[in-house]
């Protein structure tokens, strides 16, 4: 059957073809001479580091940005996509990273947003046929379990992505472009989304899928296109693709694995933090945990496992209902960020933009934010020491900017994450808690962050707690691993296999 599909494709030719596309932004050549094509019923994956040109290419195909040169063909006919409307008429649908939904409206309204069926009387919406249409749309995608009348804002992120995709697939859709839909999702959620994309693809829609997660890509792609610095550097069919090849194309050099420094913790390494019988109102039950100086402790869990609450609670963001946290022999005052910081604990939150950065302020101000009091006298900021500290840490973590007075918004995701790391390194914290430190970060920066964390733990003897939704990340960098499920620790082990971790995260009940 697959063979027939492929013959079919070859005969029909691509449904969407971008030919020799170039685009320049100021001094930066965002795309140069890139050609891609996608057939009906095919999934094309676009991969590349941040700034490789993936999003620009997607935006050009969706009519959001016009290219400097190149041609676009739909079903073999040349078209001009100079507006989103033109692209929509041509059958192209884009769902972008930021969810474009109305959170206060229900699923039904969101699915048909802007295309409400009308009654014969002017201005009146025909709710009965609206409900029917929305039901049909969801059913055709195998999403019957979604409640039509639930407000979108109350739904888990994966369902919101479903609704957004359902909404974009209006009649006449030929190509669906999704720009990193899985970035904020856990593995299990991403798997569900992959399934949905397969369903859509089987209905004869061509899909262009942009993602950072290579497992996903290899799992779902019919073809993979790798971009680097605005150029198409590699293209491979499903059976030719492997991670090593994709990564080396993305980076321009091989070697996937960072150098794994070995830890030197022993049974009598000093205990940095001891958590006893911690229970909170936001999803942690009777949890015990020990974190030692000089180690990286990885905590893995799927969304809703309590992993996010754990980081926030240990940092004193909310008050547990019971339990103890002991740091350096003293009991920590619970639910107070200030006393937690005074004990030398730092915290890098999961949502870089929403919880971490002051986007409009400078790199320097973002680095010194948590330490400003110490860089001041009588409440006056000592400009010189602030500049020196800011520059020092920007250099230490090789944050790529030529001036630390530039806004943090001008940095790539990976460099923004390094700004957050340096915010806490500057404070000299001895215990560092990180929640999903490489979420939405390109591979190059990811490796840099891993190396940095290992250096911190193994050389500087900092106690590092990494909470993560990425199973490979946890396996790769942790000295010890704890797995959470339903608010409890289900596995605590030094060198578990991937299967053990996955089992504990998805299946096991805590005893």
């Amino acid at each position: 059957m697959v063979a027939i599909d492929q013959q079919d494709r070859a005969r029909k030719g691509p449904i969407l073809q971008l030919k020799s596309i170039s685009k320049r932004y100021g001094g930066v050549q965002a795309l140069s001479d890139v050609s891609i094509q996608v057939h009906a019923g095919e999934i094309l994956c676009l991969v590349g580091e941040n700034g490789a040109g993936k999003s620009t290419l997607a935006a050009i195909a969706a009519g959001l940005v016009s290219s400097d040169s190149g041609q676009i063909f739909i079903d073999g006919e040349e078209v001009v996509l100079n507006s989103p409307r033109a692209a929509e008429i041509a059958g192209i649908r884009l769902t972008s990273q930021e969810l474009q939904l109305c959170p206060e409206l229900d699923v039904m309204t969101n699915v048909l947003l802007g295309h409400y069926p009308r009654k014969k009387i002017p201005f009146l919406v025909d709710y009965a046929s609206m409900k029917r249409k929305a039901e049909e749309r969801l059913a055709s995608l195998g999403l019957e379990d979604i409640d039509l009348f639930q407000n979108v804002g109350e739904m888990p992120v994966v369902y919101r992505a479903f609704v957004q995709i359902a909404r974009s697939l209006t009649p006449g859709a030929k190509v669906l472009i999704t720009d990193e839909p899985t970035a904020p999702m856990s593995d299990i959620e991403a798997t569900r989304l992959m399934k949905l994309l397969k369903t859509i693809c089987d209905q004869g829609v061509g899909i262009i899928f942009v993602s950072h997660r290579l497992d996903e890509v290899l799992n779902i792609a019919d073809r993979v296109v790798v971009l680097r610095d605005g150029k198409l550097v590699d293209e491979m069919n499903k059976n030719e693709g492997n991670k090593e090849r994709i990564v080396s194309s993305m980076l321009g050099h091989s070697s996937v694995d960072s150098v794994r420094t070995s830890s030197t913790i022993s049974a009598n390494s000093e205990i940095a933090m001891k958590v006893e019988n911690l229970t909170t109102s936001n999803g942690i039950f009777d949890t015990n945990l020990t974190l030692k100086f000089g180690e990286i402790l990885g905590v893995y869990g799927i969304a809703g496992s309590g992993r996010d609450s754990l980081g926030m609670t240990l940092f004193g963001s909310n008050k547990p209902t019971s339990g103890k946290i002991i740091v350096g022999g003293d009991e920590l005052k619970l639910g107070s960020i200030k006393s937690t910081m005074d004990m030398g604990i730092g915290y890098v939150p999961a949502e870089r933009r929403a919880q971490g950065l002051l986007l409009e302020r400078s790199i320097k101000e973002n680095i010194t934010l948590a330490f400003l009091r110490k860089l001041s006298k009588w409440g006056l900021i000592q400009a010189k020491s602030e500049n020196v500290s800011g520059q020092l840490w920007a250099d230490n973590l090789s944050i790529k900017t030529e001036n630390i007075e530039n806004t943090v918004l001008s940095l790539s995701g990976g460099n923004q994450q390094k700004v957050l790391l340096s915010r806490w390194l500057l404070t000299g914290c001895r215990i560092l808690i990180l929640d999903d430190p490489t979420r939405g970060v390109d591979i190059g920066s990811k490796l840099e962050i891993y190396e940095l964390l290992q250096k911190l733990a193994h050389k500087e003897r900092v106690a590092v707690l990494v909470i993560s939704s990425d199973i490979e990340e946890v396996l790769k960098i942790s000295d010890r691993i704890e797995v959470m499920r339903n608010g409890k620790i289900t596995l605590s082990k030094t060198n578990p296999t991937q299967q053990e971790v996955a089992r504990a995260a998805y299946l096991e009940e805590a005893s």
């Binding site: 919880q355 948590a370 400003l372 530039n406």
Partner: protein, 330 residues
Amino acid sequence: MSRRSKKQLKSEGAKKKIDIGSILRSQGLLLMLIMMIIFFRFQSPEYFLTFDNAITILVGATALGIMASAQTPLIISGGIDVSVGSVVALTTVMVGKLLATGMASWLVVLLAILIGTSIGLLNGFIVVQLGVNPFITTLGTMSFFSGLSFILSAGQTVSIRDPFFDWFLYSKVLKIPVLVIIVVFVIALAYFVERKTVVGRNIFAIGGNREAARLSGISTKMLPLGLYMVSSLSAAIAGVVLVSQLGSASPQLGTSYLLSVVTAVILGGTSLAGGRGSVAGTAIAVGILATLSNGFAQMQLPSYGQTTALGAALIIAVLVDQTSSKMKNK
């Protein structure tokens, strides 16, 4: 081209554009003020550009300047206080009432200011601790306390003849009235706090990203609470200034400040969404408002024309601001 040199180019480009944008923003406002001064200079060639008139303009701007300087950090922090007009009204009415009892005037002023400031404590408590939207909170207290001022005064205007208030109005240091010195000092103080202190930086952090500020150990409750109190304190001081300027106390005094304080702050380039703004911009905006009212008076135009011109100026200024930040983002 290597990746690194590309990045450099990118950030250079971004830097240039930011500069154009910020020049357009800050200097645009200054340009507006200068053009206005030139315009009125030709309308009133013999008087407008004199030292005396400059002092008159500044004295006229005292109350607004004091309140706008305190409102600016509050709005940058993501709050707003529209109740300042009612604090002015309540303060002046209290001054009238207390003076009538024969109390010493310094004590009267102190008490009136304390009462005014306590309204800020109330505003801050409702917003910060009870979590009510700041606009709704201060709209409510505005209505409550302006009503209360009318009840207390029975709607009467009381004329005030008191040596303290006369001193306040007429005394000068090196030919410069005390009132002008006060407003310049307040603006300078607000500017200094904004630019040089940890508190100033934290105000921007809270307004820019409250959660990020909280997770960096910044108190996101005490600081806003303090800002509401400072805002009310500034309104109470403005009330005392107005009593001395007008020689009377009336519950109607505050009504004209209902929106003009917020208008001045927004005109000065501060974002209602929080996280962005400056006291310097506010100071220029206050200058524009004061010059406008002085010029209109000299041209003997109706004061309604003033509000019309002001409304147009506000929208144009915000448009320029948005256009330039769009340019920056492109």
